[in-house]
C-alpha cells in the first residue's frame, strides 16, 4: 500500500514532490529511488532516476527542487540513491566529489571559554571548529546534512579523494553534538545554559551515520533515547527512521513496522513524501540500506 502510494505520487516529469501536487524535488525523488531499489521485484525507477540525472548541476551537485540551480544539501541523497545503480555510478561519484568539497563554516567558541572564567553563561557548548556539512554552503554544519553526507560518501566506492578525512571529522562532529539525553537535536546540544532535547529523526540519522564507529555506550544510550522518543512520537518520519536505526543494531522492530503501516492508513503521514519513502524502506525487512553497521 505504501509503495503503491509512493509510485502514484510521481509527477509527469518523473520526479516526486515533497507533497502531492508540488513540483518535483530532489529529496523525495532520491529517497523514493533509494527505497524502491531494495524492493525484491525491482520496480521501474528509471523515470525517477532520469529526473535526478537531468538535474545534476555543472558542479555535479543537485539543487533542492525543479527550477532552482544552486548546489544543495540534497546532493548527498541523490548520491546515495544513484550509487545503487551501476549505470548511474559515475554521476554518483562526481556528486560525491562535490560533497567532499562542501564544508560547513566554523565558529570561534574560545570566547565561550573565556566567558566561563568570568561566570558568563556560554552561548553554545560545542566544538565550533569541527567541520561537517551545512544545509547551505557558507553556513554552519548541522546534524542532518552531516549524517546524509556520511552515508552518501560511504556508499560510493572508491571514495573520492579527501573523503576519508572528511568522514572522520564528520563523525567527530556528530559525537560532539550528542545531547544530554543521549540523542541528537538538529545541531546544538546546549544553548545559553539550557539543554536542548533530542529529536527521533535526527537521532536515528546520526545513529545510522555513525554505525558501529561510535562507542557501544554512546550507541546504546542513543538507541534507548530513540526508543523512548518513539513512545511519544508516532509520526511516519520518526517511526520509519527509528525502525531503520534500531534494526541496524539488531533491535526487534516488528511492532514498530506494524505501527508504521497503521499510521499511514490513518494519517497518510500528512502527505509527506519523504516520510513515505523512508517508510517504504523501513517496511522492507530484508533491506540493509546502509550496510552492516560494523563495516567502515
Amino acid at each position: 500500500m505504501m509503495r503503491a502510494a509512493l509510485l502514484a505520487r510521481q509527477n509527469p516529469d518523473g520526479g516526486l514532490g515533497a507533497r502531492p501536487g508540488l513540483p518535483s524535488a530532489t529529496e523525495p525523488t532520491a529517497l523514493a529511488v533509494l527505497a524502491l531499489s531494495f524492493e525484491p521485484d525491482q520496480p521501474d525507477t528509471l523515470p525517477l532516476r532520469a529526473w535526478l540525472r537531468a538535474r545534476q548541476t555543472p558542479e555535479h551537485a543537485w539543487p533542492v527542487m525543479a527550477g532552482l540551480q544552486e548546489p544543495s544539501w540534497t546532493t548527498a541523497l541523490a548520491v546515495l540513491a544513484l550509487a545503487r545503480y551501476p549505470e548511474d555510478a559515475p554521476l554518483a561519484e562526481r556528486g560525491a566529489a562535490w560533497l567532499t568539497s562542501s564544508r560547513g563554516k566554523t565558529i570561534d567558541t574560545r570566547g565561550g571559554l573565556l566567558g566561563r572564567l568570568f561566570g558568563a553563561t556560554p552561548t553554545n557548548e560545542l566544538d565550533g571548529t569541527l567541520v561537517g556539512w551545512p544545509w547551505v554552503d557558507g553556513t554552519f554544519s548541522w546534524v542532518e546534512p552531516t549524517a546524509y553526507a556520511l552515508l552518501a560518501l560511504r556508499a560510493v566506492s572508491p571514495p573520492p579523494a579527501g573523503a576519508t578525512a572528511r568522514i572522520a571529522e564528520g563523525e567527530r562532529l556528530l559525537l560532539d553534538r550528542v545531547c544530554r539525553d543521549g540523542g541528537w537535536n538538529y545541531g546544538n546540544r546546549r544553548v545559553l545554559g539550557e539543554d536542548l532535547w533530542s529529536y527521533p529523526d535526527t537521532t536515528a540519522l546520526a545513529v545510522l551515520a555513525l554505525g558501529r564507529r561510535a562507542d557501544r555506550g554512546i550507541t546504546d544510550r542513543a538507541l534507548a533515547c530513540l526508543e523512548s522518543m518513539l513512545t511519544r512520537n508516532h509520526s511516519g518520519l520518526a517511526t520509519a527512521l527509528g525502525v531503520l536505526a534500531l534494526a541496524a543494531h539488531g533491535r526487534d522492530v516488528h511492532a514498530l513496522r506494524e505501527r508504521l503501516q497503521a499510521r499511514f492508513e490513518a494519517t497518510g503521514f500528512a502527505g509527506d513524501s519523504r516520510a513515505l519513502a523512508w517508510a517504504v524502506l523501513a517496511s522492507n525487512a530484508a533491506a540493509k540500506p546502509f550496510g552492516e553497521p560494523g563495516r567502515a
Partner: protein
C-alpha cells in the same frame, strides 16, 4: 583587570554575534533602502483587546479586532501564518490552536474567499508530528482549513526592496506570494537573539527551510535583525497581525522561556506599530530593540506618537517580561 560587567557585555555580545546559530549582530545604522519605495501613512492604528483565556469564545473578539484594525478581508485569499516552531508539552512555544481556529473562522465570517494556514517550522522537519502534538491538526480538521508546509512549498524569486542582509532575491513560497492578505499570527514572546519575536520576526517562518536550511540558517548568518528587515520589506501584499498575547513567553524565549499570562490580543495592519505596542505591553522599550528601531524608520511606525491606540488602554495591561541578561538594556 577588565571590569567584570564590561567584559560580560563584550563577551556575550561577541558570542551572540557569532553563535552556533550563526547570528551576526548588525552594527549598521545607515539606511539601505530607498525611502521613496516605502510610503507610510501619517499614523497607524493598533487595537488591543482583552481575551482572558483560550477556552473562552475568541472568534467574536478577533472579528472585532480585525475590524478595529481596519483590515480589508472580503473576497480575499488569506494566508494565516501562525508561529509553530517546536513542541514542548510543558511549554507555551506556539500560537495557541484555539487562536488559530478562531482567526480562520473570523476571517471567513468577514468574507474571505479562502483561508489557508501556512507555516515553515524553524526547528522541526517532522511536520506531521508537530501538527499532531501541538493540537493544530485536530483544530484544522475542525475548521476544515488547509495547511501548507512552507518549508517545502513551490518557490518563486522575490527581489529585495532593502539591502541589509546582502542576500540576492529571496526564494519565497508561492502560497504566501499568492495571498491577497497575509496574516501574521505570532505568540507574544521574548527571543534570546532578537530580544522579542512578534509579527515581523514571525516571517522567518515563510522562508523555506529546504532552500535556506534549518533553523533558517542562512538568515542567522546574515544577521537576524537584518533578515527581519529584508524579509518584511520584500512583502508587498496587504498585511494584518493578530498577536496571541493571551499567554505569552518571557525569559529564554522563543523555545525555553516561561509562560506569562497577559490576557490580550493585539491587532494591526502596520506590523511595526503592532510589534512596538507589544513591546510596550512587555515593558520593553521599542527604540532599544534593534530591528524595531530600524523598521520604524521606513517599514511602519514604532513611535508612540504615530500610533493610534484603540480598544483597551495599554497602561493597565503592561506586565514586565523577564529577559535574558544580554537584553537587560531593553527594559523600558
Amino acid at each position: 583587570m577588565l571590569e567584570r560587567r564590561a567584559f560580560l557585555k563584550g563577551a556575550l555580545g561577541g558570542l551572540v554575534a557569532v553563535s552556533a546559530h550563526g547570528c551576526s549582530r548588525p552594527a549598521q545604522d545607515e539606511a539601505r533602502h530607498d525611502p521613496a519605495a516605502f510610503p507610510r501613512p501619517a499614523s497607524s492604528r493598533v487595537a488591543v483587546l482583552r481575551a482572558e483565556a483560550y477556552d473562552r469564545p475568541l472568534e467574536a473578539i478577533i472579528r472585532d479586532g480585525i475590524a478595529l484594525a481596519g483590515a480589508e478581508v472580503a473576497g480575499r485569499r488569506v494566508v494565516v501564518k501562525p508561529n509553530l516552531v517546536e513542541f514542548d508539552p510543558a511549554g507555551v512555544i506556539n500560537t495557541h490552536p484555539a487562536v488559530i481556529a478562531a482567526t480562520v473562522v473570523a476571517l471567513r465570517r468577514l468574507g474571505a474567499r479562502e483561508v489557508i494556514v501556512a507555516e515553515g517550522p524553524g526547528h522541526r522537519r517532522d511536520t506531521e508530528y508537530l501538527l499532531d502534538a501541538s493540537g493544530l491538526l485536530a483544530v484544522l480538521r475542525d475548521v476544515q482549513a488547509r495547511y501548507v508546509d512552507l518549508n517545502v512549498d513551490a518557490v518563486r524569486p522575490v527581489p529585495l526592496r532593502s539591502w541589509y542582509t546582502g542576500l540576492g532575491p529571496l526564494q519565497l513560497p508561492a502560497t504566501v506570494l499568492d495571498a491577497d492578505l497575509l496574516v501574521s499570527l505570532p505568540k507574544l514572546k521574548t527571543h534570546h537573539w532578537a530580544g522579542v519575536t512578534l509579527s515581523m520576526k514571525n516571517m522567518f517562518g515563510i522562508v523555506p527551510g529546504a532552500v535556506y536550511g534549518w533553523p533558517k540558517n542562512v538568515l542567522h548568518w546574515q544577521g537576524i535583525e537584518n533578515s527581519i528587515l529584508d524579509i518584511n520589506a520584500a512583502l508587498t501584499m496587504p498585511r494584518l497581525a493578530v498577536v496571541d498575547g493571551i499567554v505569552g513567553m518571557e525569559g529564554n524565549g522563543p523555545i525555553q522561556g516561561s509562560a506569562k499570562p497577559m490576557g490580550v490580543l493585539v491587532f494591526g495592519t502596520d506590523w511595526v506599530a503592532v510589534d512596538a505596542t507589544c513591546a510596550r505591553l512587555m515593558e520593553l522599550e521599542p527604540a532599544r530593540i534593534d530591528y524595531l528601531r530600524r523598521a520604524g524608520t521606513f517599514l511602519g511606525h514604532a513611535d508612540v506618537a504615530q500610533i493610534v491606540q484603540v480598544g483597551e488602554a495599554i497602561a493597565p495591561l503592561v506586565r514586565p517580561f523577564a529577559v535574558i541578561d544580554s537584553f537587560a538594556a531593553l527594559r523600558a
